[in-house]
Amino acid sequence: MAVPTVESPRSGRVSPGYSRTRSSRGNFEMGAWLFMRLSGVVLVVMIFVHLWTSLVAGDGISQVDFGFVAGKWASPIWQAWDLVLLWLAMLHGTNGVRTIINDYAEKNSTRMWLKGVLYTATVVIILLGTLVIFTFDPCPVIDGVAHVASYCPTA
């Protein structure tokens, strides 16, 4: 059976169906490609530390509760860590899923709808997460009842 040959992308003889140039797109796709690699390196380090602190160090996952979060976010370093992690991971993941949608959804309208849902979810999750980090209260008073913990002032 003859093996079909595929021309090298740089040969200039690529069939128009496989052409990827859209003059109006500018350098966006190259920027996205570079962002995946740069954010990827940072994410490997930041996520491994994130997994280590919550699943390996101390008592592993059994230690994770409200007090654990309060302890971590008492430090501005961990607040900043989680904020950067949230933004980088969401943008990296959104761009990855955008690429997959572009690859597999063939109809223009399907692509548009899927990406609309994706971008909506991305904006909502990034804003929600950011708001939670900045407005976190380790000793909340809910319906007049103060949260009881060793690190909270007693009423």
């Binding site: 079909p4 040959t5 595929v6 169906g17 690699r37 990827g40 390196v41 994410l43 490997v44 996520i47 491994f48 997994l51 699943l55 390996v56 008592d59 592993g60 996952i61 059994s62 994770v64 509760d65 409200f66 007090g67 979060v69 949230l86 991971a89 969401m90 993941g93 959104t94 990855g96 899923v97 997959i100 979810a121 999750i125 929600l128 997460g129 708001l131 939670v132 407005t135 976190f136 209260d137 909340p140 809910i142 949260h147 913990a149």
Partner: protein, 126 residues
Amino acid sequence: MPKTPAGTLYRGREGQWSWVAHRITGVVIFFFLLVHVLDTSLVRVSPEAYDAVIAAYKNPIMGLGELGLVGAIVFHAFNGLRVIAVDFWKKGPRYHRQMLWGVVGLWALTMLAFSIRHLSVVFGGH
């Protein structure tokens, strides 16, 4: 364009299958990330709401799910570094197969160590 192309761009073997695994693990991680931000957001509802939902992450079935999630993350991380090496290192494309076996080996070692740690916490009542 015909629906079924006569030839194919896919070449199989290490290159294609690592690409497939990278996509699948990426999508899995992304969907968990959405859920993870939502569950963490419960700290703004009440300590009790957060603790109740996090308690679900501590049962044995979810413990195995976490093992799968960490497995997906570790593969995506190591293979992502391999992709960067293929793109930016002069000899990257020539050694991409060897690097994949390096990724798989490092993944197995990492997961062996993590499994011992995580499963003893989940099943051993720490």
